[in-house]
Amino acid sequence: MSYLMAFIIGGILCVIGQLAMDLTKPGITPGHILVGFITGGAILSAVGLYQPLVDISGAGATIPLSGFGHSLAQGAIAGVKEKGLLGAFSGGVAATAAGITAAIVFGYLAAVIFNPKD
């Protein structure tokens, strides 16, 4: 069951990205999609609309980049509860530190080890 919901919700989020690309050609690039999803996910999360999606589909909602925005938003809100104003600045990045650091370090290693394919 959890796999089916992960598949469906994850798939639907990707279709939203695909429609944004196909229906607005050629203005929207993969970069715009990523920026849009991380920001959109953070906003939906802040108004309480993203957590229900995570509850029903698990990785289907956390693995798309909107889930990254969700972690950033919830991290900031939890940070404020814990540390006040300072938490607004530290909470988001603290909650996503593992993924962001991994992306930069593994990304760099992959770029050093491998060569561009043509």
Partner: protein, 154 residues
Amino acid sequence: MDEGKSEELKAAEKKEYQNLVNQVKPKPSVLANCLWAFVVGGLICVIAQMILNYLVSKGMSKSDAGSAVAVIMVFLGALLTGIGIYDKIGEKAGAGSIVPITGFSNVIVASALEFKREGYIFGVGARIFSIAGPTLLFGFTASVLIGLISYWFR
């Protein structure tokens, strides 16, 4: 008169040429693109869910397991981009390979590789952020604004 005719001819030729182009050009319909994005994006999430379930079954807390899954998926995305498989998947899958977090590591590696010949510090080191940078910037900014608003209404 002559000029008008040649213009008509030009228009006709243009139309014929367009028809020819349209015949030769492969036409991936929006529907087909969406189907591919749905299936590939969905499958990536299922793989992540499998890893998540495995880690939780080994006694990891849900939030730690979530972070670990992000690290693992990012690693897989970087590796598959490095060996050239991810971009092949992306040709078909479109947003199905961009929206998941593996797509985030894909754009990091792809933009870094493109500038490898400019060196490892200011080539790879700087260009690694050409798409990741704006993404993180907007993500961090949104997060801080949300934090400030929640501080205000606390």
